[in-house]
């Protein structure tokens, strides 16, 4: 065994023997360059942030659902943010909303989702020893960590964290006089986001390079699992759009600290007229949404990739329309860059632009629809096994439909006049992006937990977790459509000041109660996660009887993933329930020549080609062995 040498396509040359590195604690768990450990680091940090982000939302949901409730009991934690008569400070309410959004979008669903699964799965599923650059990968995590620390600290400063909404539109975010959160809190937000962007870029470059260069023998692009396609395209979107966010932030820094006027003009505030003229707040919005809209797909695509894989595996059926799925994702990738201004229909930009962006926006709905139909057809006449991962994947499809359909209202600029910045938008993006991506992430954790920790999570706790969360999410977000149609504006501390919104206190109470229950249900998951890590049932090598490469590694893969040669790949990852085959799955590593009984006509022709590859492999192996001895 020890003689089996790494193959020519090893990621980092020949320092990967199958015997374990003699890592100490620090190089193994902290400054590690092993993509699997880095993935777990992202995961745990993401889970930490998800709890924080969730708690913040519970606090503001208390305010909205139970406005008269005395919150003195929160004073030990929130201190002066609870007013003397026991209510939440309105400025702190905005801070909560802002930090909730920032944390969920960037720290949980971007870093926690892409960071975890791109890192963990790309090398394992394409058959690579590690990422193209392990060091850059490590740097990516630690920049994210620094960013997290700074953002976390900003929660505790006296003037409060950034409070201008997660989109931090200037002039509100540029002027300290406008709100206290725009002071130090906003500075920390910008610094943290700068580190975050650097982290995303380093990660993204690595994912792209790895997918392009380090695929194992036979792993052509047309045999990549859809997960990898999704991570790959996500990384491309991130690479092209995050720099624009950085420039938006940089100009904001200039306006804040160096007296420039990129976004500021004709402002009278705090009793004085500011000298800035000629800037445009709308410019910031264009720059922000040039990232902002792609960002929603950065968050969603990995989740869709994960569910494609899980749904196919647990339907015991090939994913329907593999090519159509890839084309849809490509379409989404490209189109996601040309729809940003649909967030700005009533921002005062030229209405002609509004018309253009309305047409472009509705085009992007088409590939989204195709994906849904393909999922449905994959389930059709399958043989469905409801693992927790599968349940969450089906849940994702449901949210994707519900939230995607409301996008059709919002993308229509005439209808959006009324709906913009109301709770209808909140319902839309929490379903389509928030909940769908969150479900993708949870599905992924349930599905790959055995690969991450060598043990199984408890399935029944998973079922309970799923049903509570699935029903809970709908109870929280579905009612928001009604209050949105009724015109309730977003980011309101209280609606009782207006006649038109002085109602639905019961519905808001219901939503808040549902939010608390749903949040509480996540502790079932947390318990399951940490308990199973140490005490769960030991997993078998391929517990879901899946085709992809990661299940050919040992139970606890070392740094380098495969002890011997990296397996070569002979088929696409979706040969489930192939007619003629004995089992209902044929892993990618099984040569076509070994399955004459189930080969399709065109595959039979490939057998010859394949024989050559196998012969090649053999000579390689022999050559290596003779070199060693």
């Amino acid at each position: 065994m020890a003689t089996a040498h790494t193959a020519t396509h090893s990621a980092t040359g020949h320092d990967h023997h199958d015997h374990e590195h003699h890592d100490n604690f620090i190089t193994k768990y902290i400054f590690t360059t092993d993509h699997k450990m880095i993935g777990k680091q992202f995961l745990v940090t993401g889970m930490f942030w998800a709890i924080i982000g969730g708690l913040l939302s519970l606090i503001f949901r208390l305010q909205l659902g139970f406005p008269d409730m005395k919150l003195e009991w929160l004073r030990p934690v929130l201190g002066g943010w609870i007013t003397p008569d026991g209510a939440l400070d309105p400025e702190f309410y905005l801070a909560l909303v802002t930090m909730h959004g920032t944390i969920m979008v960037f720290f949980v669903l971007t870093a926690g989702l892409s960071g975890t699964f791109s890192n963990f799965l790309i090398p394992l599923q394409i058959g690579a020893r590690d990422m193209a650059s392990g060091f850059m990968n490590m740097l990516s995590y630690w920049l994210f960590f620094v960013s997290s620390v700074i953002m976390f600290i900003s929660l505790f400063i006296e003037t409060g964290p950034a409070s201008g909404g997660w989109v931090v539109y200037p002039p509100l975010s540029a002027l300290e006089q406008a709100m206290p959160g725009s002071g130090l809190g906003m500075t920390l937000w910008l610094v943290a986001m700068t580190f975050f962007i650097a982290s995303s870029l380093l990660g993204g470059i690595n994912y792209i390079t790895t997918v392009i260069n380090l695929r194992t023998k036979g792993m052509s692009f047309s045999r990549l699992p859809l997960t990898i396609w999704a991570f790959f395209l996500t990384a491309i979107i991130g690479l092209l759009s995050f720099p624009v966010l950085f420039s938006a932030a940089l100009l904001l820094v200039f306006d804040r600290s160096f007296g420039t006027s990129f976004y500021l003009s004709d402002i009278y505030i705090g009793g004085e007229a500011l000298p800035n003229t000629g800037g445009s707040p709308v410019l910031y919005q264009h720059l922000f949404w040039f990232l902002g809209h792609p960002e929603v797909y950065i968050v969603l695509l990995p989740a869709l990739g994960i569910t494609s894989e899980i749904i196919a595996t647990n339907s015991r059926k090939p994913i329907f329309g593999y090519k159509a799925m890839i084309i849809s994702m490509l379409g989404i990738t490209i189109l996601s860059f040309v729809v940003w201004a649909h967030h700005m229909f009533v921002s005062g930009m030229n209405p002609f632009l509004g018309s253009i962006f309305m047409f472009l926006t509705l085009i992007i709905a088409i590939p989204s629809a195709v994906k849904v139909f393909n999922y449905l057809t994959t389930l059709w006449r399958g043989n469905l096994v409801f693992t927790p991962g599968m349940l969450f994947s089906i849940g994702l499809v449901s949210f994707f439909i519900s939230g995607g359909l409301t996008g059709i209202f919002l993308g229509n600029s005439a209808i959006d006049i009324q709906l913009h910045d109301t709770y209808f938008v909140v319902a839309h993006f929490h379903l389509v992006m928030g909940s769908a991506s969150f479900f993708g992430m949870v599905a992924g954790i349930y599905h790959w937990f055995p690969k991450m920790f060598g043990r199984m999570m408890d399935a029944r706790l998973g079922y309970v977790h799923f049903w509570l969360t699935f029903i809970g999410v709908y109870m929280v977000f579905f009612p928001m459509h009604y209050i949105g149609i009724a015109g309730f504006p977003r980011r309101y501390y209280s609606w009782t000041g207006f006649e038109f919104s002085n109602m639905y206190t019961d519905l808001n109470m219901f939503v808040s109660a549902a939010a608390i229950i749903t949040f509480a249900a996540q502790f079932i998951f947390l318990f399951n996660f940490f308990y199973s890590m140490f005490r769960g049932r030991v997993a078998s090598l391929n517990p879901w009887r899946s085709n992809t490469l990661e299940w050919t590694t040992p139970l606890h893969p070392g740094h380098g993933n495969w002890p011997g040669e990296i397996p070569a790949v002979y088929r696409w990852p979706y040969d489930y329930s192939k007619p003629g085959a004995k089992e209902d799955f044929i892993p990618q590593t099984v040569p076509l020549s070994a399955t004459p009984e189930s080969n399709l006509p065109h595959e039979q022709e490939l057998v010859k080609l394949e024989k050559e590859i196998i012969a090649d492999e053999e000579t390689d192996l022999v050559a290596n062995e003779s070199k060693e001895s």
Partner: protein
Amino acid sequence: MYGFLIAVGILLLLSIIWMVYRIQTLVSVVKGSDKKIATGSNKVNAIMFVLFLVGATVLMFWYSIKEFDNYNLPVASEHGVITDELFWITMAVTGIVFIITHVLLFWFPYKYQYKEDRKASFYPENNKLELIWTTVPAVVLALLVIGGWRAWSDITAPAPENSHVVEIMGYQFAWEVRYPGMDNVLGEHDYRLINSSNISGVDFSDKNALDDFSSPVVVIPKGEPVLFKIRARDVLHSVFAPHMRLKMDAVPGMPTRFWFTATKTTEEMRAELNDPEFVYEIACTEICGRGHFSMRKEIRVVEPEEYRKWLADQKPYIVNNPALVADLPAELKELAEITISEYK
């Protein structure tokens, strides 16, 4: 108190889960069901999907019908009628898709739940199907967008010549409403002229400003086009008049506008809704700071004759506060004083 209850609830929940968890692990080990591909839970989950489908559908229809009059805001502008119609057409189209896809999504799990003796059908692709479900949504969406585009073009077209102009300026945290007076032309403004007695920075050296006046309510005539000229003096705000289906951001340094025609007076709406307290309102829908949720302004829609009477009764800024024109050059000052005396 609540906190304590919640804590107890969570504790209770946790301990129950713990017990159930231990028991069922032991049971499953004894039964050896942890070796099976699909246990009895598979069936339970499959049934749950169907139950969820039925339950959620019933709830949705029940609530949507029961609450219709509450969430469906009455509409009071000409373009609002059109956008509402688009909204409900879109609702019908997407509603059908929503229901069909969800019926399939939740019924398939029941129908095709795992059976040991069955094999899933190997059905990897069908280009014809893909083509159909690419083109059909494309056509439907195109129709929806064309409707939206035509409405949008009309709404955003230049305001008719005879529109009544009203300036609405957002600031932390209120709206300032300025009328152009008899000449229907607003005077120039400059943010450097703002002070506590001239909060919208009106430039009184522009003679169009001399008859400008301010009003605590937005009063507009029914059936005649009204043009809101919108601006902000500190941060972004957004004018939202829900019954008028009107929304437009107020941007510092970049004036924006929105024109519309109201179709029902406040009185008419009161009668229609049988609610003597009813008022049209303006709210702010762009986060602007601490008082964002409290930027309320009232719109009063009146009959045209009544509007003209009201207009004639209003006193310009400079009549209410002659100090505003104290520093003007002599000839302008004279003009201003003539205006002031006219109103006396």
